[in-house]
């Protein structure tokens, strides 16, 4: 009985392996087209799916030039990395203060509800006033986008951090307090390092959200001439015209950084996403 339960379900394994075609097919097609010359794009399925006559990186070189790839990549990296670092620093201490304060004071309970309820506010209602506001404040640029991400991700991250705090015994802080450490020092020296698993979750959820976001940079940074990686695909769409090979080379370039990141941190990402959703 026990033996039978442990047996590998081969049929299911094979079905699931075959099912990965649904994931690989679009990516395979994109890669193939990206390597082809426009003249190889015959009007049938073979034109899109058969191997190119020769694997040339010419489309990629051209796409990098047309979309100013390195510049867009730099912007995306800058915005995402700065957002992650600031989110971990600011949201964690906010989550800590709110989480601990809540236990003792009604006012902190109120602040908690105030910030977390922000999760239901769709970007659509903020969009138009924010465009005016950021432009007025001289924040219609990358700094403005980062600032907005810090605000948009605050509800989720505060929720995650203050929830995680329940796992950290308050006795540690009281001990540090008796030793004469200030609240500020205690937080950074004792509590902050202990929230490490949650930092990873927050970093991953914030990174996935900001890296792929189109709408915020689209409305906030328009007119600065700066692009993020996804925004560049949108803005150069007209220049690609019907040259699908060039366009797909550009799409592949836009997908590669996050795919590499995923391959390296796959386990942490899957854990992070699961943790975030379950705790949130």
């Amino acid at each position: 009985m026990m033996k039978e339960k442990q047996k590998t379900n081969w049929v299911l394994t094979i079905v699931l392996i075959l099912g990965t075609v649904t994931v690989f097919f679009p990516l395979y097609m994109a890669v193939i087209i990206a390597f082809k010359k426009p003249s190889e794009m015959t009007n049938d399925v073979a034109g899109a799916l058969s191997f190119p006559k020769q694997w040339s990186f010419e489309n990629f070189r051209q796409a990098m030039e047309v979309t100013d790839f390195w510049h867009s990549l730099g912007n995306s990296l800058l915005i995402t990395l700065v957002t992650i670092v600031l989110a971990i620093l600011i949201h964690s201490i906010a989550g800590y203060v709110i989480g601990r304060g809540m236990a003792r004071r009604k006012s902190f309970r109120f602040i908690y509800l105030y910030i977390v309820s922000g999760m239901f506010v769709p970007f659509s209602i903020l969009m138009m006033p924010l465009v005016k506001q950021t432009a007025h404040m001289g924040l219609g640029n990358r700094a403005g986008v980062i600032l907005l991400y810090l605000v948009f991700y605050m509800p989720m991250n505060v929720l995650l951090y203050s929830g995680y705090l329940k796992n950290i015994p308050i006795a540690l802080e009281e001990a540090a307090d008796i030793d004469g450490a200030s609240t500020w020092t205690t937080y950074w020296k004792v509590v902050f390092p202990m929230m490490k698993p949650m930092h990873a979750t927050v970093a991953i959820l914030t990174a996935l959200g900001t890296w792929n976001d189109v709408m915020t940079p689209l409305v906030i940074m328009s007119g600065t001439g700066q692009n993020t990686l996804p925004l560049a695909q949108l803005n150069f769409q007209t220049q690609f015209g019907t040259n699908y090979n060039l366009a797909f080379a550009s799409y592949i370039l836009a997908l590669i950084p996050i795919l590499i990141f995923y391959m390296i941190c796959q386990k942490q990402i899957l854990n992070g996403v699961a943790n975030g959703a379950v705790k949130g």
């Binding site: 339960k5 442990q6 047996k7 590998t8 379900n9 299911l12 394994t13 699931l16 392996i17 099912g19 990965t20 994931v23 679009p26 990516l27 087209i33 049938d44 399925v45 899109a48 600011i90 201490i93 906010a94 203060v97 709110i98 910030i115 922000g118 239901f120 506010v121 769709p122 970007f123 659509s124 209602i125 903020l126 969009m127 138009m128 006033p129 600032l147 605000v151 200030s182 609240t183 500020w184 996935l208 890296w211 792929n212 189109v214 409305v219 769409q237 699908y244 366009a247 799409y251 836009a254 997908l255 996050i258 795919l259 995923y262 990402i269 899957l270 699961a274 959703a277 379950v278 949130g280």
Partner: protein, 291 residues
């Protein structure tokens, strides 16, 4: 000791006040402004007047707005159901005794890490060039032209892309739900001689109910706010048949001179999202308690 505590309080307030100010300035304040604009005829530039509730009255008679709500609801409903059924099936499969488990889990998650815009462009090519060829070969009528060019079927194209990406996310959540079910529960129900099917619905499903709630609320919210896929697949066309609420607010609010009017639309949209989320959570909480 008393002094120490008040120091702690001081630090707490010193941290939280700037945070609350930041949140207020870039979340609450723009929201209030949005509500105020919704009572004006502001075009996005120039001067404007207050028009009372006229924008709201007009919203309910505007056929384009009505159409966008119909599309968005249809899309969100179909998407939420499809995604939850598919990802529950996927999760059960990926959580059973199979080989290459972690590799398969990793692969099936890939669609979720890729940006909706670029994925939309790639699928747009599939819908325009690959599917019609398939349709011609197998004589499937509705596939013979690009489904994105058809008023009737374009929404299905958008739906396929949305579901393709969302299944990845929800599967992971269901898997972590299934993992909370202790091994003994499976064994006990096996001993009772329950069939697999019965075992799942009577024993396992009630235990993962909280995860169903999470997934329903999450996917409904995400589908209701669909934007990137519309932007890259259809731009709301053909004949505005795939214009989502977010896309309409963006398009006509930012460029169409309807700043005030679309602000009213956004306010209603906000209320709709909150109402649906709260409704889902109350209903599901009741279900969870019953089980």
């Amino acid at each position: 000791m008393k002094k120490k505590m008040s120091n702690r309080d001081k630090t707490f307030w010193a941290v939280i006040i700037p945070v609350v100010i930041l949140f207020f300035a870039f979340n609450t304040l723009p929201m209030i402004k949005g509500v105020i604009y919704s009572f004006t005829n502001y075009k996005g530039y120039g001067t404007y007047d207050y028009v009372g509730f006229r924008n709201y009255a007009d919203l309910f008679t505007d056929s384009r707005v009505g159409k966008s709500y119909l599309f968005t609801f249809k899309y969100a409903l179909a998407g939420t159901i499809l995604v939850n059924v598919l990802s529950l099936v996927m999760a059960v499969g990926l959580n059973s005794k199979i080989r290459c488990k972690s590799a398969l889990r990793g692969i099936y998650f890939v669609p979720n890490i890729l940006g909706g815009l670029v994925i939309g462009y790639i699928f747009s090519f599939i819908f325009t060039y690959i599917l019609p060829t398939v349709g011609n070969v197998f004589h499937i009528g509705f596939l013979q032209n690009s489904i994105l060019a058809s008023e009737k079927y374009a929404w299905i194209g958008v739906l396929i892309v949305g579901v393709w990406q969302a299944v990845a996310m929800n599967t992971i959540i269901y898997i972590s739900g299934l993992q909370t079910v202790p091994e003994e529960v499976y064994e006990a129900s096996m001993l009772d001689g329950a069939s697999k099917w019965k075992q799942f619905w009577k024993v396992i499903f009630p235990l993962v109910m909280p995860f169903v709630t999470i997934n329903l609320v999450l996917s409904t919210k995400n589908f209701l706010m669909v934007f990137d896929q519309i932007m890259s697949l259809t731009k709301g066309g053909p004949a505005q048949s795939t214009e989502s609420i977010s896309y309409l607010i963006y398009k006509n609010g930012m460029d169409g001179g309807q700043f005030g009017f679309q602000s009213a639309n956004a306010v209603i949209f906000f209320i709709v999202i909150v109402a649906i989320s709260l409704f889902q959570m109350t209903v599901m909480n009741k279900k969870e308690e019953q089980l």
